[in-house]
């Protein structure tokens, strides 16, 4: 029986098989598993996750941009993106229904939808950023027709409630809500927040797995930004700047900026013409837009081919150039030759270094020979004759300033040029800031010094200039200009509060005070008269720079007219710089063109800031008075009452007692105005037409208006001895008004140059 079982050799071989199969085989496999599950696990898991995980991002709401008083300049609102999932379309009938329905609501063609619907994908965008009414219509359409292949996704859109206001400062956002320009770009990280994510598991068909694997990372909304900009001041600036651009047919745009000279806060900043950030890609210059349209029309008419491609390329280039041009913030991006405004810097340096003093005397003969063969003409033929330091600034006398510059010498001049921050960018918190262009130390010759002394042969940006010049009269400190005052999180907590930064003390407080009063005299007695506002102490300096780099046949063809003003001169608070690039006018001097713009801005801004006018004795005649109530008074009493407030009486009718008056009581009228007093209740004066006095001198205007039985208020420089011209009147010519009405007439002095 024993021989029937397996023999010894068979048993030995069976044991061998156990070892080979059970032990060796298993060991090999275990080793392999160890390698895959322990050694390579991380790599394999990463690869697996890549195919299994779907990451959906949740947009974070972009922060709001407010002005310093809380007015909203930019905010994000919810909008919707309509998408189509072509693979989910059941049949041709549904395809047609979707195409027609979407085309109907969304202003796209059915063909466009049909084309997208034939792609083999899950996601085709039909239209982006539609607003609630349209989104509601879509939802209704989908529900009514039980369509599941179309969906709506939430997104955000940027709104700029004030339209084009401060557009070059604010900038705008792109399709993906990313900041593309201005504050939006510079503070993009602050504003955009952190988008959230939903990580979910998907099967190999791309749909969600039926179990709960889902991780959500909440979106963190962006922070809000509070600007130093004041919407009202910005509106004042833009109103007058825009008007100046139209009035003087400015060819190369105008720039204006208002800053708080004590802190460096930018209160307003504008470039005109500009754009509406709600639709930044549209071309707002109608001439350029027309030209582009023409290009596009021609392009569409062309046959396919190389020529068309080239034309397309040209069109795209032209379009993007036009867009970049209209987005450009001239205040920070366009260096220019500052001209005579820069004389304030030259004067400050010389007084600080004591190479000159207020008693220094200059004799201008109309021509100044710096070196044999190198001579400069003064803008005034025949010269200014003998002048002291103040008069040299008031007259903006170039030969005098060449002498002042020479007294400093190249080294000291450069030292102050640098100290006033003109060799560096201001570091303002806006993108695209340009630096200055100036002589290197090696090529800064005596001749370069001479032209630099009166602000030519180098370029600085308007912002560099206003911060530098502000340091000359604000007490001597160069302030860091900035536009963002505060960063606030979405719950309203302050994240960051910016405080003023003084870069350095450039000149002494004493010198600075001297400069301020010198500048005030420029406005009260010198070439800045057109910036004069009765009751306010305005300091300023005109500037007319020749665009030396744009000469034609040796003749300077293009000019930049500028004016920088500040107030109050005895305690400077704000400064305004206006720069008109290539105004078209017979007299392109800054004193005539730019100064009135600054005056108008100041006249709006100063009362707004609560700075009350204080009239000096000499200015009393410009101050308005309130008309008293004269009803029931006797003729004699009424006249005495009026005379006591420097008004005149004109009686109409036969009665002895006043029964009516024009202007009415409490109305503000200029001193010396005539009040018409009705005495019998029967005789009245006819209404009169306002005469046209535009373009006349102030004397002519005065006579014409008084002749009609109206009163006049002269606005602007009122000193006699100037050739004046009426540049605006209110009410307009031809308006029918009651007699005694005050006609406000704005005049400027036209015989001023730089």
């Amino acid at each position: 029986m024993t021989s029937l079982g397996p023999n010894v050799r068979m048993k030995k071989r069976m044991i061998f098989c156990i070892i080979a199969l059970s032990i060796a085989g298993t060991a090999v496999i275990l080793l392999r598993l160890f390698q895959l599950q322990m050694v390579q696990a991380e790599d394999l898991q990463r690869l697996a996750a890549q195919q299994q995980m779907r990451v959906t991002s949740i947009s974070s709401q972009r922060g709001t941009i407010r002005d310093r008083n809380g007015n909203i300049l930019a905010k994000s609102g919810t909008v919707w993106t309509v998408y189509l999932s072509p693979v989910d379309i059941d049949n041709e009938e549904e395809r047609q229904l979707i195409a027609e329905g979407l085309a109907d609501i969304l202003d796209v063609t059915p063909e466009f939808v049909l084309e997208k619907s034939r792609r083999n994908t899950y996601y085709e965008i039909i239209k982006r950023k539609i607003e609630r009414p349209l989104a509601d219509e879509i939802t209704q359409f989908l529900q009514e027709n039980k369509i599941t292949a179309v969906g709506l996704e939430e997104d955000y859109k940027r709104y700029y409630p004030y339209g084009s206001l401060a557009s070059t400062v604010l900038g705008f956002t792109g399709m993906e809500n990313q900041g593309a320009y201005g504050i939006e770009a510079y503070y993009d990280k602050v504003l955009s927040g952190t988008p959230g994510r939903v990580v979910s598991a998907k099967n190999a068909w791309g749909t969600d797995m039926p179990f709960k694997y889902e991780k959500m990372y909440e979106a963190k909304d962006g922070n809000d930004i509070v600007l130093t900009i004041d919407v009202n001041i910005q509106q004042f600036l833009e109103k007058h700047l825009e008007q100046a651009v139209i009035e003087h047919n400015v060819q190369n745009k105008a720039a204006g900026v208002v800053i708080d000279v004590q802190t460096g806060e930018i209160l307003a900043m504008s470039t005109k013409p500009d754009f509406d950030p709600n639709t930044p890609n549209q071309i707002y210059d109608s001439a350029v837009a027309a030209q582009l349209d023409e290009m596009k029309t021609a392009l569409e008419g062309m046959a396919e081919g190389e020529a068309r491609e080239q034309a397309e390329q040209e069109y795209r280039t032209a379009l993007s150039e036009a867009q970049f041009d209209q987005w450009r913030n001239k205040v920070i991006s366009d260096p220019y030759e500052p001209g005579s405004v820069f004389k304030i810097i030259t004067a400050s340096a010389a007084l600080e270094e004591k190479t000159m003093n207020l008693g220094s005397a200059f004799n201008c003969t109309g021509n100044y020979e710096l070196l044999p063969g190198v001579s400069y003409n003064c803008w005034k033929a025949g010269g200014h004759g003998h002048q002291n330091f103040a008069q040299a600034l008031q007259n903006s006398c170039n030969p005098a300033f060449i002498m002042i510059g020479q007294s400093l010498g190249q080294e000291r001049f450069r030292k102050y040029f640098e100290a006033f921050g003109l060799m560096e960018t201001t570091g303002v918190d806006l993108p695209g800031e340009s630096g200055s262009i100036y002589h290197t130390e090696e090529d800064f010759s005596v001749v370069s010094l001479a032209s630099s002394s009166f602000g030519q042969t180098f370029k600085v940006t308007p912002l560099q200039l206003i911060t530098a010049v502000s340091a000359a009269f604000n007490g001597g400190e160069l302030m860091q200009p900035y536009v963002v005052k505060q960063i606030v999180d979405s719950d309203g907590n302050t994240v960051e509060e910016k405080s003023p930064v003084a870069k350095r003390q450039v000149i002494s407080a004493e010198t600075s005070a001297t400069i301020a009063s010198l500048c005030e005299s420029v406005v009260s007695q010198g070439s800045g008269k057109n910036a004069y506002i009765p009751g306010y102490r305005i300091g300023g300096k005109t500037g007319t720079s020749e665009k030396l780099d744009k000469q034609i046949n040796g003749e300077v063809d293009k000019r930049i007219s500028s004016f920088m003003g500040f107030a109050p001169a005895d305690d400077p608070q704000i400064a305004v710089l206006i720069m008109l690039d290539e105004p078209y006018m017979t007299n392109p001097y800054g004193s005539v063109i730019a100064a009135p713009v600054v005056k108008n801005i100041m006249a709006d801004v100063l009362p707004y800031l609560g700075i009350e006018p204080e009239f000096s004795e000499a200015e009393q005649k410009y101050a308005d008075v309130a008309v008293p109530n004269l009803n029931t008074l006797k003729r004699g009493e009424a006249e005495a009452e009026l005379n006591s407030v420097n008004l005149k009486a004109r009686f109409v009718g036969e009665g002895e007692t006043v029964v009516g008056q024009l202007p009415q009581m409490k109305e503000e009228v200029p001193r010396g105005s005539t009040v018409i007093l009705y005495t019998d209740g029967v005789t009245t004066l006819e209404d009169v037409e306002v005469p046209d006095v535009l373009g006349r001198t102030s004397l002519q205007a005065n006579a014409a208006i008084l002749a009609e039985g109206l009163n006049i208020r002269l606005d602007g420089v009122a000193d006699t001895g100037q050739v004046t011209q009426v540049i605006s009147q209110d009410p307009a010519p031809g308006t029918v008004v009651k007699p005694g009405t005050v006609v406000t007439v704005e005049i400027i002095a036209t015989d001023l140059t730089d």
Binding site: M1, L4, G5, P6, N7, R9, M10, K11, R13, M14, I15, C17, I18, L21, S22, I23, G25, T26, V28, I29, L30, R32, L33, F34, L36, Q37, M38, Q40, A41, D43, L44, Q45, L47, A48, Q51, Q52, A201, K202, N203, A204, W205, M209, P210, Y213
Partner: protein, 370 residues
């Protein structure tokens, strides 16, 4: 002929079989329900059927455990004849996935190769028990075996069913080795094998697809969406498991990434859900089953029973090792299912039947010991 045996079955072997079966059913369900949910609209589609076959298989196993295995000696030749017939018939069956491996009878599908495996084991066991010491000679120890293997293999290659052929050849060779054939033939075979593989690998075009199969084995990422797809998805699942796994039921790769996760690649889902630890435990269970099967063979009271146990145990063990080797890309991809785990009605019943035969052998051994 021995009288009907009355001893106890080998409880260890039975427990191992039941453990593996339970494990297999649970994991097959876990692996299949996502695919069943998406493609069959019924998460329980596969498990319902597999459970039925498992229950039927258990009944068959128990029946055969108490069925005197010596009857198989008589049935060996008829079964072998039937299997040969089936292997011929299958060649006239419609192709599925480029091969003719299935015979469809009464809505049921049967793999002739499954029957052939069992038939070859029976015939070899008969021959070995018959030849005894003559196994050392070429005439008895090699020639008849080679003839049987050659015929079966030739028919299977025609289907073609390469993996099944390799499996049958391997089982046959193991049985010849254990049965006592002279060692020099195995050395010779080893040399031939090495030379053959070398030729196939080094000389392109000798065997169609062998070259490219080899390439996708070495670098499945060279065609990640085509030939390498299944292997890559399997590796990603195994790697995802790490040490402890994602937890039972938590596989992500079974969500339509791994094609037919209920079939050959069920073990990659096991690795993903149970991790290295779980996979190792299952491997150890298979090794223990192997060891216990051979113990039964060693203790068997006659050569026929012993060789039956050797052949059947070897079949289960080899199939498990080869399947896991494929799943882990240790060897090139061939279609070998994992016993107890992979979905399949006829193979489940067949497997349980074979386990029943081994148990029946163990009863005789136990009786002997008494």
């Amino acid at each position: 002929m021995q009288p009907a045996a009355r001893g106890n079955i080998d409880v260890t072997f039975l427990i191992l079989v039941l453990l593996l079966l339970t494990f297999g059913l649970v994991m097959m369900f876990s692996a299949s329900y996502a695919d069943a949910y998406y493609r069959k609209d019924d998460s329980f589609y596969y498990i319902k059927r597999q459970m039925l076959f498992a229950v039927g298989g258990l009944a068959v196993m128990i029946f055969l455990a108490y069925f005197d295995y010596h009857w198989w000696k008589k049935l060996a030749l008829p079964i072998f004849a039937v299997s040969l017939l089936m292997l011929v018939v299958v060649l006239f069956m419609p192709e599925r996935n480029g091969a003719k491996r299935w015979i469809f009878i009464l809505g049921q599908s049967i793999q002739p190769s499954e029957v052939a495996k069992f038939a070859v084991i029976l015939v070899f066991a008969v021959l070995i028990s018959l030849y005894g010491e003559k196994m050392r000679t070429f005439r008895y120890g090699i020639l008849p075996f080679a003839a049987v293997l050659g015929t079966v293999a030739a028919l299977m290659v025609l289907e073609p069913h390469l993996s099944g052929t390799i499996l049958i050849l391997s089982i046959g060779i193991v049985m010849m080795f254990v049965g006592g054939a002279d060692l020099k033939w195995f050395l010779l075979l080893l040399c031939v094998l090495i030379a053959g593989v070398g030729i196939v690998v080094l000389i392109p075009g000798v065997i169609e697809y062998a070259q490219s199969r080899f390439q996708y084995w070495l670098d499945p990422f060279s065609d990640p969406l085509g030939k390498g797809f299944q292997t890559i998805q399997s590796l990603l699942a195994i790697g995802s498991g790490g040490l402890m796994g994602l937890g039972l039921g938590n596989s992500r790769q079974k969500y339509l990434y791994i094609p037919e996760p209920q079939n050959d690649f069920v073990f990659s889902i096991v690795c993903e859900e149970l991790g290295f630890v779980g996979a190792a435990i299952i491997l150890i269970f298979f090794a223990l089953l192997e060891w216990r099967g051979f113990v039964i063979a060693i203790r068997a009271k006659d050569k026929f029973g012993s060789m039956l146990a050797v052949g059947l145990t070897t079949q289960v063990g080899l199939q498990a090792l080869l399947n896991i080797a494929v799943v882990t890309n240790t060897i090139p991809n061939t279609g070998i299912s994992l016993p107890f785990f992979s979905y399949g009605g006829s193979s489940m019943v067949m497997l349980m039947a074979q386990m029943g035969v081994v148990l029946s052998v163990s009863r005789q051994a136990a009786l002997e010991k008494q």
